[in-house]
Every structure is written in structure tokens, then in C-alpha cells.
Symmetry: C2
Subunit: 186 residues, 2 copies
């Protein structure tokens, strides 16, 4: 595996940092990679755009700063607008389709949408939209194995909510797989 | 405030990452600075050296990588050995005196020791050694205000443990103040 850079973004309260934490943990503890997770505090931590940057590699990550992420997940309009420009050609872009309305279809990236917040609401817990999104990411990007992610979700969420979170992950994963199969050239 | 780089280090399970999270939060939410916190996963997350890197500044932190930390906190021998060399001249070094035995007194740094784990054990909860250490840091380094740190501790620890954690913070702070007053030239 080469160095993989992933940015998860949204607004405060969506569990973006927890999702980043889980992603890094999955890569390191269960897939035996090296990883860093950086979180920004600042105006964004008071309710605006919020971002977790995860870097994964086979060797120690000495440089946790994103140079050009291969993957961007955006769960809010503000985060989308702020970060979409940094995604390189052929990069993977996943948005929550109810929270983000792109101004025209993004060009030259692999672009997918999921109603992660709506799925979470259907499951009775809006708070698990981040985990639905992680499941979708797992289907669309194979840098981290699905099994490692499932284990990391289980060991990172509050006690008593493990099963619900795994269901959320699996809902997102199923949605992601459907996206791939319906667009075989993506 | 110029850019301040702080590394908190120890081994997995000591709450190093939580301490880093609290430090960044204190700087950003309560002191209105910008901050990033980076955590490394890798072999260290499986029980070895563990580190949280916090960068704080008055302007957004675009470069979360430590160039040369001004502050190093070491709560384990392995972490001390791994990171002590990166501290610059005049930097602040704080160790848990029962966990770290320096090979000779560190030169050209401001060197302080605290029995943070022992104090936490006296308080009945070894797990709060990280918060004792944060209190000590607050006394010895004024980049983040004591009041911001207290608020960040209170809002970040598990519900029901707030008072105990504030007591731990205050024990560490008192120890740090004593260190300063007993070495007026430090």
C-alpha cells in the first residue's frame, strides 16, 4: 500500500472525529498498517466545518499533513465547499446527498452519494450517520479491510450501542456496494 | 502567541491521547486559539510508546507536524528515550518521576519531575495520572490558560468523574507551582 490520505469532513456534532479515529484504528490495530489521525480545533470546533485527516501507510507516517487526499467524505455543505478543491483527478468523493448540494456534478473524480443522515434517522439515531458513511466508504475504497473496520467500530463506540453501530455500518456498506454494481465503470 | 508545539507521550492506556485532546480543546474552545491534535497509530497503539502532538497558534494551523516541540511530557521510559532528543535548547521537559529514569540529568532544558501516577494512585484512580500531569503542565507552561484547561477537563471526561478529574488537575497544578517556587531561576 502506498500512502493513502483521507479527509472526513462535516460539521461539529456529526461524529466526524470519531469516524476518523475509527478509520485510523482499523488500519493500525487490525490491518497492521501505520496511521495518523489529525483533528483541527478552531472556529470549526464551535459549530462550523469540522475535519479529520487520516493518513495510512505501510511504514511509519512521519508527515501527518495531507498533501493531496485521495478520498474526501463531505457531510455538510460548508465542508464540501471548503475541501472539494483539494481532491486530485480520479480521487474518490462521497457526499451525504441531503446535506450537500454540489454546484454542478464534480468533474474528473469518482463521485458517489449516500443519504447517510436519512438512513441513520430511519434507524432511529441520527447520531450514527457517521458510521453509515464509514460503511459506504468501506465499499468504495479498499485501503482498509471491511473486517478491520467492523472490529474498530465495535471497539470504539459507547458500550451498549455496538450492535446498532454495526447495523449502521452494514447499511452503509450495502448502499456502497449497490453504487458500485450500478456503475460498473466507476 | 507564536506557534507552540507540545508532545505528550507515554504508553497505551495512560490516557495520553485524551490529554492531548483536552489540551487542544482548551486552546481552541476556551482560549480562542487555533489548534490541531495528531495521534499516531501503529505498533505503539498495541502497547508501546504512544504520543499525542498538539500544535497551537493564533492563526489556523496548516502544518500539524511537529518541527521542534517546545514542550515534551514523558510518562514512560520508552517514550522518553524515543522523544527526548527532539526537544530544543530551553525547552520544557516534564517526566513522571516513577516511570522515567533519565540517564543523567537532561541538559539545556527546563527539567521538572512529578510523581503523577503515584498521586493518581493515592487518589484511588491510577487512570487519572494523565490529568494530574496536565495540571502540572498548566503550572509550568502558560500557553493555555489554567481556566480553559479546567473547563476542557470538565467537558471531556466521562460523566460522573468530573469532580475527581478536577481534583486531579488541581493536585498536579499545585505540584507544578511548588516546583516553580522552589527553583526561581527555572
Amino acid at each position: 500500500m502506498d500512502r493513502i490520505e483521507i479527509r472526513l469532513s462535516g460539521f461539529g456534532g456529526q461524529g466526524i472525529i470519531l469516524a476518523g479515529y475509527i478509520l485510523g484504528k482499523a488500519a493500525a490495530l487490525y490491518d497492521h498498517k501505520h496511521a495518523t489521525m489529525t483533528q483541527n480545533y478552531g472556529p470549526e470546533s464551535r459549530g462550523g466545518a469540522c475535519s479529520a485527516q487520516v493518513v495510512m501507510a505501510d511504514t511509519p507516517v512521519n508527515y501527518p499533513h495531507l498533501t493531496q487526499p485521495q478520498v474526501l467524505v463531505a457531510m455538510s455543505q460548508e465542508a464540501y465547499t471548503k475541501y472539494v478543491g483539494e481532491l486530485g483527478e480520479g480521487g474518490l468523493l462521497i457526499i451525504d446527498e441531503d446535506m450537500v448540494k454540489p454546484d454542478g456534478a464534480p468533474q474528473r473524480v469518482r463521485f458517489y452519494t449516500i443519504p447517510s443522515t436519512r438512513i441513520a434517522e430511519e434507524m432511529g439515531r441520527r447520531m450514527i450517520a457517521n458510521i453509515v458513511m464509514l460503511g459506504c466508504l468501506a465499499a468504495l475504497d479498499t485501503s482498509v479491510s471491511v473486517e478491520a473496520l467492523r472490529q474498530a467500530v465495535r471497539s470504539s463506540v459507547p458500550k451498549g450501542t455496538e450492535d446498532l453501530n454495526i447495523q449502521a455500518f452494514d447499511r452503509g456498506y450495502a448502499h456502497g456496494q449497490k453504487l458500485i454494481s450500478s456503475r460498473p465503470t466507476a
